[in-house]
């Protein structure tokens, strides 16, 4: 909000430089975002606060300054030229819905010549970036920006009858606003009506029919208090937000309407108008002032600073709170009606802290006690996963959690997507159901910018719904395309493939401490048939990996293979890991045996591995597949596999005969389960 320093000087005698004014305001929490020096003024851009509507006018800001500087606040002068007519004899105000309008004041000023405002007034408004309209409209704007109390002026001649009614709108009523917009009214909207029709949307905007024009001679000044929630709902429904509604919805000062009306009348009579005597002030149930108790010892307990009693009482009095001592160090504080934000003791302590100065409160580290010794397992797992992915050469990315429905459709599976009711754009209308869509877009973005390989991962939440429930899951996605390394003079760099992705998944599972892991072929809507595996941890499916299907890649104009995996971390983290303990290093030497054989190419390696694992051979430390060969010497349809077995006895050196027996057992098991042909020379 714009604040003119020159205007502030109408209410406080400022003997300070602009910089001093700005730093004084900042010190008490009225943040000056920026400022601009003009010829004879400085205009501040002041931050506004939803719970400080009293500072939405110059008077309120001046009050804060006066308290901070310990100088008096000068209220605007009231001096009204009156005629001999009593307003009450000529006009009437009736509030039908007191709940939405507890107070309504009206004054009449007659004989106005509508025309340009005096220079000083035009200058005030221009300083705030407003365009002067005419003296009547300018006065209403002036009062609003001076006092934060919105007021309105009706052309008295255009009101039907001599009565204003404040009531809820009737079914089917409508109104054209000052701006020329037609608003359909509903029965929960409060309107100001003459004896026939609504003439203003209460607290929001006036109607066109009763608007002040060049021909206006007599005006009815409205100065009222409207219920904040009602004003807010009305402007939202009508789609019209104004400086008035902005203030009313935050809470006006219920004590102030008569003063604002009188200020308007003062100005209008200075410009040649004459006011009717008296004021209509309908205020059937005057509000009881709020009372809050403050205890001096609480200032120390909450602020950690020794603040003298005298400072507490002086600060509150300077801010126009009234204090009554109940006991030594305990006061009952009556809150001025303009401070809608003050309800509890803590609010008063905030006032004291603000004026005491945050820089004067000491800095202390609390004497911490240990709160919780339990390890944050999920966090340490996440940290471990990220380190592992970096080690595997994957870069970390973060994609938006919203997606384009058209793109999300490509990754459709057995879960529904959650829609955002008011999305930032139609292309961000859904919550993502998978991380892979965003990751694929990362591949495309970087490929289009010259990348030759993209290997990235993301940890994040995905969302889905079925008929019952909306769900949020934690997932990890990874994607790999293209070159893994830049070419080097010693040879061309590696290019990614399925086994790079699978190896990463295997390392990942190992890093989580899971041993019972298996991969099973699975058809999945994201992946090409026969090119996907499901990752199972202790029998529970925890993820999927494979080669993205061509339909998805084509939608992104990609014609090279892309492999991707998505791990369900909620599932993975839930599974209890294998308990780690260290195994003693055996000092006896190992015996290594290599076995090579021909087998049908169609036999999956996993089947062979399961048979070998199932043998539970004693002294077998590990076995690995170290060669896989097709080509010269290998018949069509067959493949040559070479496995290495490492045997070691924990307490002695194994004898050749003992290992021969074990090797024989392996050969037998392979022969009885598969059609194999052992290759000569495969042993050593």
């Amino acid at each position: 909000m714009k604040i003119s320093i020159d205007w502030l000087k109408d209410y406080v005698s400022l003997d300070l430089s602009d910089t001093q004014v700005i730093s004084t305001l900042n010190r008490i929490g009225m943040l000056v975002d920026e400022w601009e020096e003009t010829e004879d003024d400085t205009i501040l851009e002041l931050e506004t606060y939803a719970n400080r509507p009293d500072t939405l006018g110059h008077l309120g800001v001046a009050r804060e300054l006066a308290a901070a500087l310990g100088i008096p606040l000068n209220m605007p002068d009231i001096s009204i030229v009156e005629n001999d007519k009593q307003i009450a004899e000529h006009f009437d105000i009736q509030i039908m819905d007191e709940d939405l309008c507890p107070r309504y004041c009206g004054m009449i000023v007659s004989g106005i010549e509508v025309g340009p405002s005096p220079d000083w007034l035009q200058k005030r408004l221009r300083a705030l970036g407003l365009v002067p309209v005419n003296n009547v409209v300018d006065v209403t704007n002036y009062v609003l920006f001076a006092t934060a109390q919105p007021i309105h002026a009706f052309d008295l001649a255009k009101l039907k009858g001599s009565k204003i009614m404040v009531r809820r709108a009737k079914r089917g009523e409508g109104m054209r606003t000052l701006e020329g917009r037609d608003v359909a009214l509903s029965q929960d909207m409060l309107v100001i009506a003459d004896e026939k029709d609504p003439v203003a949307l209460a607290g929001v905007i006036g109607g066109e029919k009763s608007a002040v024009s060049e021909a206006t001679r007599d005006v009815l000044i409205e100065s009222a208090y409207f219920d904040p929630v009602s004003v807010r709902q009305t402007w939202k429904k009508a789609g019209v937000q104004t400086d008035a509604s902005y203030r009313f919805e935050r809470g006006a000062d219920i004590k102030f309407p008569p003063h604002a009306a009188a200020l308007a009348a003062t100005l209008l009579t200075q410009m040649g108008g004459v006011a009717y005597q008296g004021m209509l002030d309908v205020y059937p149930k005057p509000a009881r002032p709020k009372a809050v108790v403050i205890r001096h010892h609480r200032t120390l307990e909450l602020l950690g600073a020794e603040i003298e009693e005298a400072f507490v009482t002086k600060t509150l009095k300077d801010l126009e709170f009234q204090l009554k001592e109940q006991q030594p160090g305990i006061w009952q504080v009556t809150v001025p009606t303009f401070r809608v934000d003050i309800e509890r003791e803590a609010d008063l302590i905030e006032e004291i802290a603000r004026f005491f100065g945050y820089e004067n409160i000491p800095s202390q580290l609390p004497m911490w006690e240990t709160v919780d010794l339990s390890q944050d397992r999920k966090r340490s797992l996440e940290t471990g996963l990220r380190q592992l992915m970096f080690h595997q050469g994957f870069d970390e990315v973060v994609n938006y959690s919203f997606t384009d429905p058209a793109r999300e459709e490509l990754f459709r599976r057995d879960r529904g997507a959650i829609a955002i009711r008011n999305p930032i754009s139609t292309r961000a209308a859904l919550l993502r159901t998978t991380l892979l869509n965003g990751l694929l877009q990362t591949v495309v973005w970087n490929k289009n910018r010259g990348a030759e390989g993209v290997h990235v991962f993301e940890l994040g939440h995905i969302f889905s719904q079925d008929e019952e429930d909306k769900r949020e899951l934690q997932a990890m996605g990874m994607i790999t395309w293209g070159a893994l390394e830049a070419p080097h003079w010693q040879g061309p760099g590696l290019t990614t493939d399925f086994f790079h992705l699978k190896g990463t998944c295997e390392s990942l599972v190992a890093s989580l401490g899971y041993q019972a892991v298996s991969f099973q072929s699975q058809d999945h809507p994201f992946f090409e048939a026969g090119h996907a595996l499901a990752l199972h941890l202790k029998g529970t499916e925890a993820g999927i990996l494979g080669r993205l299907k061509p339909e998805i890649l084509e939608a992104y104009d990609l014609n090279e293979p892309v492999w991707a995996a998505e791990i369900d971390l909620d599932v993975a983290f839930e599974i209890q890991p294998h308990v780690f303990h260290c195994v003693p290093v055996v000092k006896y030497p190992s015996v290594i045996r290599d076995i090579s054989f021909l087998i049908d190419r169609g036999v999956p390696y996993q089947g062979i591995k399961e048979i070998l694992d199932g043998l539970n051979l004693p002294y077998l430390e590990r076995h690995t597949l170290y060669d896989r060969y097709t080509g010269t010497g290998v018949p069509e349809g067959k493949v040559s596999l070479s496995l290495r077995f490492v045997f070691r006895h924990p307490q002695k050196t194994l004898q050749a005969g003992e290992v021969d027996a074990l090797q024989e057992k392996i050969g037998k098991a392979l022969r009885s389960n598969f059609e194999i042909q052992l290759r000569e020379g495969g042993e050593n």
């Binding site: 929490g29 803590a346 603000r354 800095s363 994609n399 970087n446 949020e472």
Partner: protein, 344 residues
């Protein structure tokens, strides 16, 4: 005698010149023969020459010739060893060729800073808590002292799923969820993603990360808030960073504060600094003492306990730390941007 000496000197120079040319066994054998051959070798000839000298000259001459013979012998041995070493078995290697570096993935800069922030609070014994990104109106607003229809809600442009569900606009709901479950003392941070209805531009994003924190215990004061956050900021930036606490107004804290640090770019010395706009200060944290109503909402007695809460945007902090000019960089995922952080 002088003739002999000169001859030895000449042969010594010739040998020294020939030795580096020896690149294989054949050349070595040739050199060996040239000097040590029993028939025509230079040394054999020298010994022959010595025979013709006067007897009194012989001892000195013998010394000269023997010393030269030792020199030749040891040089030939050295050459022999070098030829056997592998480096001499092929052409010599150009050690200035580039090495083979390993490729290490880069962390996302926001998560990098988030982790640094977390590490500092972990050192102070804070726990790290998280919660759902899809929240209810109650946890996101009401429990935090935002009544329905309050204009304070306008400061948070909210993305709604339905009347009750929304995308959390701050991570504060996690604090409510923790306070409902745990009793004080509580000392936690709650980092995470938050959402606002904003169109991306250099200074706005519809999604960003926050780290918020909460301390609840007996006797927690505003002085503790100051001490803790000063410690944190010094640990995150450096020990002599300028720190300023200013009053502010948040619905969920009384009193409320905003915390500024001295501009990390111009250090308050440039009037036209792009980052601090010449003010010398950067707003980095919002904080305050927990509102008693928030405590009542989670059944903590505000007369017995007090606490403070704080929050910061991670992207802003990353921008200040790394001088990143545009917020949109963060979620474009351009690897030319992200890869730079593999070095951090």
């Amino acid at each position: 005698m002088e003739t002999l000496k000169n001859r030895i000197q000449g042969l010594r120079d010739q040998f020294a010149q020939a030795a580096p040319q020896v690149l294989d066994q054949a050349a070595l054998q040739e050199l060996r023969n040239l000097y040590l051959s029993r028939k025509k070798g230079h040394l054999t000839q020298l010994f022959e020459l010595m025979k013709g000298l006067a007897p009194e000259q012989k001892p000195a001459a013998g010394q000269e010739v023997n010393s030269f013979k030792q020199y030749v012998q040891s040089e030939l041995d050295r050459l022999e060893k070098e030829l056997q070493a592998p480096s001499r078995s092929g052409p010599s290697v150009d050690l200035t060729l580039p090495g083979r570096a390993s490729y290490w993935g880069a962390p996302h800069p926001v998560l990098l800073i988030k982790e640094r922030i977390e590490q500092i609070f972990l050192r102070m014994g804070f726990s790290i808590e998280d919660g759902p990104e899809m929240e209810t109106d109650f946890y996101n607003f009401e429990a935090l002292n935002f009544p329905p229809h309050h204009p304070a809600r306008d400061d948070w442009d909210t993305l709604y799923i339905d009347d009750d569900l929304l995308l959390r606009t701050h991570t504060s709901p996690v604090q409510i969820r923790v306070m409902e479950k745990k009793k004080p003392p509580i000392r936690m941070i709650n980092p995470g993603k938050v959402f606002r209805k904003e169109t991306p531009d250099p200074t706005h994003l519809p999604m960003f990360f926050q780290v918020e924190g909460l301390v609840v215990d007996h006797g927690i004061t505003f002085a503790h808030l100051k001490g803790t956050l000063e410690y944190f900021l010094k640990a995150l930036y450096h020990d002599s960073i300028k720190i300023r606490f200013r009053p502010s107004f948040f619905p969920f804290t009384e009193p409320s504060a905003e915390v500024d640090i001295g501009c990390t770019v111009c250090n308050g010395e440039e009037d036209d600094c792009r980052v601090c706009k010449g003010t010398g200060w950067l707003e980095i944290l919002g904080a305050g003492m927990v509102d008693p109503q928030v405590f009542k909402n989670v059944n903590i007695d505000p007369e017995k306990y007090s606490g403070f809460a704080f929050g910061m945007g991670v992207e802003r902090t990353a921008m200040f730390s790394f001088q990143i000019p545009d917020l949109r960089y963060f979620y474009e995922n351009d690897l030319r941007f992200i890869r730079q952080f593999s070095k951090k």
